[in-house]
């Protein structure tokens, strides 16, 4: 389809602003822009139709099944959108006087209180805008803690090799040396490997539990104890909190600080890549290091962005929390785990799980045998799913499993959807044996065929240019 610039007609425009009722001021010559930006010139109907056409070429979780592992693509309730669009929230200036923003404060305080209870933490900030940003915030708590104690030798953060890429990248952004430790064959922390790297240079450990293969690390109390004994702190990457919220609390596992992706666990929409929002929680002794905006709260603290965070996303998450309430929160987690296990059982016998045991909210299929047998790769299967209107699972992650497909159905999928999805996987398993070429060429009925990514990277075209 055409780009919006290719639909532009010189001289066309929307008239949306009133006439200026005061005298214009001349921009001083030294500052004045001589050539207008080449933005598209369109009528409102052109704009509406262009973006509607684009919208038809997007698959969201509210359109269909989206079992994208580690991303928790659960249904995004519409009521959350309505609440976030209330003028009483959207129309508030972040620097308005305190007595005029009591409602916003109540939203933040209430959400903080509930999330502290769910995670077993004592303090909470909503300043970070996304998960990785929350990791940065959390690891900075660890850094400040050691710094304040004058403990300058703690220069290393331990990260298992099964971790999300953001973990090591975050540790590096916080000036730490990253110590990668190998995982045990089941994806859990190898206690011996952990012990061998712990020492008085250990600043902390970053860990996801359940881990990135969807297994709860049964040694978790031992792990956090060992790290604490070495003088380090434990950071909980809350990417997989949906498996355990209301069932077991990171604070009780021995973690000192945590981040939660509100756009995963608490059902706020991903928006095609963002905005997310992140809550970072900590135990009492780290509270003094939580970030705050200079403009809102005065000097003295670090801050990771302007103002108080992605507030309107927090409104959505609070709406969701109020809807679920005390029974709904664990019910969501339990059914997320049930759905994952059910789907794994239904697929088993064709594509095989990398770990044949009860999983948490997600599981990993290992297609390496299938690939050897048929030549059909995890990528081919993923692309074939698109023809069925199913969003592919996460591919080739975690890196400790070869030909990995990672599925996270979430609790908001019905049994019928899971049965259908399992049938599709079974069909593709058969198809791979009979007609592998068809799968190499998939998708066949999508918006586009497979794109040439090599060409995109070798000869980057990153903006439209007038012919």
């Amino acid at each position: 389809m055409k780009l919006i610039f290719e639909k532009s007609v010189a001289g066309r425009h929307c008239d949306l602003l009133p006439k200026c009722d005061v005298e214009y001021v001349e921009v001083p010559a030294a500052f004045k822009r001589e050539t207008a930006p080449a933005l598209p010139e369109l009528s409102e109907v052109d704009v509406a139709r262009h973006y509607t056409e684009l919208d038809h070429r997007v698959h969201g979780v509210n359109c269909g099944f989206y079992p994208l592992g580690s991303c928790t693509m659960k249904y995004n309730p519409r009521i959350d959108e309505d609440m976030a669009a209330l003028p009483g929230f959207t129309g508030v200036h972040p620097l308005a006087p305190a007595d005029t923003v009591k409602g916003c404060r109540e939203v933040l305080d209430t959400a903080a209180k509930y999330l502290c209870e769910i995670t077993g933490m004592d303090g909470m900030t909503f300043q970070p805008a996304a998960g990785a940003h929350g990791e940065f915030t959390g690891v900075l708590l660890i850094k400040q803690y050691h710094d304040k104690r004058g403990d300058k030798k703690r220069t290393k953060i331990i990260v298992p090799d099964s971790a999300h890429g953001t973990n090591p990248a975050t540790a590096a952004m916080c000036g730490f040396e990253v110590v990668n430790i190998p995982s045990a064959p089941n994806g859990c922390v190898d206690l011996e490997a952990l012990k061998s790297v712990l020492g008085d240079d250990t600043a902390g450990l970053m860990l996801t539990n359940p881990n990135t293969v969807g297994i709860f690390d049964e040694n978790i109390l031992e792990i956090t104890r060992l790290v604490h004994e070495a003088g380090g702190l434990c950071y909980y990457d809350g990417a997989n909190l949906n498996a355990v919220m209301g069932v077991v609390r990171p604070g009780d596992m021995g973690f000192d600080c945590i981040h939660m992706n509100l756009h995963k666990t608490f059902a706020t929409p991903h928006g095609g890549g963002g905005p997310g929002a992140c809550a970072v929680g900590c135990k009492e002794f780290l509270r003094e290091f939580l970030p705050a905006s200079v403009l809102m709260q005065g000097k003295g603290r670090l801050q990771v962005r302007a103002f108080a965070g992605n507030f309107l996303v927090v409104v959505r998450a609070l709406t969701y929390l109020l809807t679920l309430g005390r029974e709904g929160v664990p019910e969501a987690a339990q059914n997320a785990v049930l759905n994952a296990n059910y789907l794994m059982q239904r697929i088993k016998g064709t594509f095989e799980p990398a770990f044949d045991r009860i999983c948490m909210h997600e599981f990993v299929l290992d297609l390496s045998e299938f690939k050897k047998e048929t030549g059909v790769s995890a990528l081919d299967v993923a692309k074939s799913l698109i023809d069925y209107g199913m969003h592919p699972p996460t591919m080739y992650f975690p890196m400790i499993v070869h030909e990995a497909l990672m599925l996270e159905p979430t609790e908001t999928e019905s049994k019928e959807t899971l049965d259908w999805a399992a049938d599709v996987f079974r069909k593709l398993y058969e198809l791979g044996k009979t007609d592998p070429q068809y799968m190499h060429d998939a998708p066949h009925h999508a918006q586009i065929g497979r794109p040439d990514e090599v060409r995109a990277a070798r000869q980057p075209i990153l903006r439209w240019q007038k012919a």
Binding site: Y396, E453, V454, A457, R458
Partner: protein
């Protein structure tokens, strides 16, 4: 897979050819095949020092990035600028497409001959 016998190889898959005291360095056929289509290369500047066993640059494919480890210590006396515009030459002709030349060669990593390197690759591939 091609393992020319006139070259020495490092375990991290770089090849070296000594020409009048200058080490000419590239990546092996095995390395380019494992990486897939190379889309970009980060090169040092002429005059930069290299340390044996330490990265001097990296190569990117679409879905991976790999450090280029210098097999020798010394100072960079030439870089193959052609690769900046045409990184695909690393795929097409890995032994023709040298990456850097290093002079004042000091320390060297333990280097393998073609036969030992071929064995090393076979082991790595499992």
């Amino acid at each position: 897979m091609n393992y020319p016998t006139d070259l020495k190889y490092s375990k991290s898959h770089e090849w070296v050819r000594m020409e009048d005291g200058v080490a000419v360095i590239g990546i092996s056929d095995f390395a380019q095949s494992e990486l897939g289509d190379v889309v970009f290369i980060n090169l040092p500047e002429v005059g930069d020092d290299t340390t044996a066993g330490e990265p001097f640059g990296d190569v990117e494919s679409v879905k991976a990035v790999s450090d280029l480890i210098s097999p020798v210590s010394g100072s960079v006396c030439a870089i193959n600028e052609e690769l900046l515009d045409a990184p695909e030459k690393l795929n097409e002709n890995p032994y023709g497409a040298w990456i850097i030349k290093v002079e004042n060669v000091g320390d060297q990593e333990e280097l393998l001959d073609a036969e030992a390197y071929e064995k090393h690759c076979a082991e790595e591939k499992g």
